[in-house]
Amino acid sequence: MLSKKVCKFENLKMPPKILLNLTTGLEEGKAAYCRGLNGIFLPRNMVEWATENFAEEERLVSHELWHIISRNLEPAVRDEVYRVINYLPFGHRLDYPPLLKVMLGRGEGGNFANVVALCKLIYRSERFQTRTLPLWNTT
């Protein structure tokens, strides 16, 4: 699966080593992720899948390897590749809508229940106004 998307590139710029690192998982919600140009971070819970769920683990690491490949592509090439799946450069960072910002400003940042409730409220409000779920920005 991975190769079908990658094999066409004959001269990928890749780091000499790709490191598979182990973590507790507490730092990113027990999800796997990549950082830097060659770091893949696997939480303990996902590594333990490997004993009984090789196919899923292979799929996971293939996914993370693609992030390593794409991080090492020239920006223009990377944008072109992601355009295939309709991922386009946003051009600026996302920000939260004003109402959510107010709530977060009250120190609600760590309270997921409140934030989720507010997101649902915003979603219902947007639906009522027949608008799509907001991809917001302040710029």
């Binding site: 710029k13 780091p15 000499p16 080593k17 182990l22 973590t23 730092e27 090492n72 960072r93 940042g109």
Partner: protein, 113 residues
């Protein structure tokens, strides 16, 4: 913040090279190998204030640390890096039943050196 692609001098410094003893190397693409990383190498990556960290909102940083106050970038990266743990001997078997079997498949499909 947008990721940077390609390898310039600064980016090469961001590539960690260390791995624990007893690990095997899986050839992935030409000169590139996949290995199990050690704790120090993993920490070093996560301690960097890279585009990912700098692109996080205050809310995201607070939520990931489950704090009601906004952590500094330093506090955030320190917490992240502190979660890197060593591969245990039993984990090294991962190479046998996971990494190693992937090798021929990936190498053939992506291009062994």
């Amino acid at each position: 913040m947008e990721e940077t692609g390609g390898h310039n001098a600064q980016e090469k410094q961001d590539v960690q090279q260390t791995s624990p003893q007893g690990t095997k190397e899986l050839f992935f693409y030409k000169e590139t190998v996949i290995v199990l990383g050690d704790v120090e190498g993993g920490k070093e990556i996560l301690l960097k204030s890279d585009d990912y960290v700098l692109g996080l909102s205050d809310f995201e940083k607070a939520a990931k640390l489950q704090l009601a106050k906004v952590p500094s970038v330093e506090e955030f990266t320190l917490f992240q890096s502190s979660q890197v743990i060593p591969w245990e001997p039993k984990d090294l078997e991962v190479q046998n039943y996971f990494i190693e079997p992937m090798g021929p498949d990936l190498s053939i499909r992506i291009g062994r050196r």
